[in-house]
């Protein structure tokens, strides 16, 4: 029996790292094959939306354009990271059904490939953001708090992702539900705006949205080099909560997934 306690998980993790690192890079390579800019397209697409949204929404929210560029850029980049992992996790076993039927790799591997590929893309996006902002005279730099935020949010998203991947493979409708909820959450999460009003701070619609804390951690670490321990502990506790369910679900169902495809 494979045990999934944290310590026992490490060897599997390290043993498979080479494998899923290769697959993640390969998937990125395949997707952008024959395009001249390659993966830069992702960052370019984000930059274009920031440039388009910025001048309009900064007026709407009565914020200085330069400040608003900072707010919206890290908001969009972190949200793209979150929604990509969640969205792709839902269908990961269905996409890889051929591999799952014809190899004996542990199924979590496919989830790690999704997470790792998005971590790499996130890092690329962040580097480009730092470059652009520094060129335009903003003094923001990569910092250790942002690294911590990336690690914690990745842990959170991988647990949630694996859980969703199992549920969505068994019940195909959940994928559609997740899709709809994520579209809604794009507007309910402070991505294009920030929580400044106390009425919003107190609102359950904001407080109960776990992604609010994740995006907020990213934004504060990126712009202010600061971190809210309160928010961090909320995300960590949710991660542990999901990790527990992931552990139970994997233990019970990981061998059944192949029959659900």
């Amino acid at each position: 029996m494979q045990k999934y306690l944290l310590i026992e998980m490490m060897p599997l993790f390290i043993k498979n790292f080479q494998y899923w690192n290769y697959l993640a890079l390969n998937e990125i390579k395949q997707k952008y094959r024959r395009s001249i800019l390659g993966t830069l397209w992702i960052s370019l697409a984000t930059t274009i939306s920031i440039l388009g949204i910025g001048p309009i929404y900064s007026v709407l929210f009565n914020t200085r354009l330069s400040d608003y560029f900072l707010i919206v850029s890290i908001g969009l980049v972190s949200w793209n990271y979150i929604s990509a992992i969640i969205g792709e996790s839902c269908g990961v076993f269905i996409t890889n059904s051929g591999m799952i039927k014809d190899t004996s790799l542990p199924i979590e591997t496919y989830c790690y490939v999704v997470v790792w590929r998005n971590v790499l893309l996130l890092l690329q996006n962040l580097i480009i953001l730092y470059l652009i902002f520094n060129i335009f005279g903003f003094r923001i730099f990569p910092n250790i708090k942002l690294v911590l935020v990336i690690i914690v949010s990745t842990f959170f998203l991988s647990n949630l992702g694996i859980l969703l991947s199992l549920v969505c493979t068994r019940f195909r409708d959940i994928t559609q539900i997740v899709d709809a909820v994520m579209k809604l959450l794009f507007f309910m999460t402070p991505i294009l705006w920030v929580v400044k009003d106390t009425r919003l701070e107190e609102s359950l619609l904001v407080k109960l949205n776990i992604f609010y804390y994740v995006v907020d951690l990213f934004r504060n670490a990126f712009i202010n080099d600061s971190i809210s321990l309160n928010h961090l502990s909320i995300v960590v506790s949710f991660s542990l909560f999901f990790a527990f369910f992931k552990y139970m679900a994997l233990k019970k169902y990981k061998n059944r997934v192949v029959y659900w495809l």
Binding site: D102, R170, F171
Partner: protein
């Protein structure tokens, strides 16, 4: 370490979803309107029994042929041995490394070049980058595709694709080889060469398990023929 395969009272049962829709709706609706629409008492899906109480022990140097109708459970049994299908009940113990030739196109992407596909395929099977490097030249040489190595595979003819896949599959040494039907590839000249390579490759393996409809081929190749019917073993003969 000696290679061996041991199956004890192994069953594979799986539900067929989608037959009555694998959705949350049906699960909830079944709960709420179970009494009105004629649905069996519980909301479970019909099950397929793919393998039923298989007891089997295969040891070193055996060449086992699996014979049976379509749907008798031959391929399922191969996948169980490979480790992708997990038993619903019973036990399976496999000792030794496994090479599966069940799906040669596994992981193949026609937009990648020949070399990249070789690398991808071997990496999926757990080769380290260095091992991959060593194998690439050999595979290209045998498949006679050196000139096409750096072209995307979508430009290959189907014969060339088969030659490449065949060469990759027969370059992976393992204790246990699993095959679904005999392989052949390419034109007459290449087919001869391929046959020789495959025979040589199988000689190196400790155990071969091959599923086929071709009784004559199995008779000439195997030391033991197992006949399956509806997921059970109906005969097990040593030749």
């Amino acid at each position: 370490m000696t290679a061996s395969i041991e199956l004890q009272d192994l069953c594979i049962r799986y539900p067929i979803y989608g037959f009555r829709s694998k959705s949350l709706k049906s699960l909830i609706l079944n709960k709420t309107i179970g009494g009105i629409i004629d649905i069996p008492g519980d909301y479970s899906s019909p099950e397929i029994v793919a393998l039923n109480g298989i007891n089997l022990s295969i040891s070193e140097n055996e060449r086992v042929g699996l014979f049976g109708h379509n749907g008798a459970g031959k391929s399922t049994l191969l996948r169980v041995i490979m480790g992708s299908y997990h038993p619903s009940s019973g036990k399976i113990i496999v000792r030794g490394s496994i090479s599966s030739m069940i799906n040669l196109t596994l992981g193949i992407d026609e937009n990648l070049t020949g070399v990249e596909n070789i690398e991808l395929r071997l990496r999926i099977l757990g080769f380290s980058p260095r091992m991959v490097k060593n194998s690439i030249a050999e595979i290209l040489e045998f498949s006679e595709l050196e000139d096409y190595a750096h072209l995307p595979m979508r430009t290959y003819s189907s014969g060339m694709v088969m030659r490449l896949l065949f060469s990759i599959a027969t370059s992976i040494d393992a204790d246990i080889v699993l095959m679904d039907e005999w392989l052949s590839a390419g034109d007459i000249n290449f087919a001869k060469k391929a046959e020789a390579r495959l025979n040589n490759y199988l000689k190196k393996a400790s155990i071969l398990v091959i599923a086929s409809h071709n009784k004559e081929m199995l008779d000439s190749l195997c030391t033991r023929i197992i006949e399956l019917e509806h997921g059970s073993i109906v005969s097990d003969k040593n030749l």
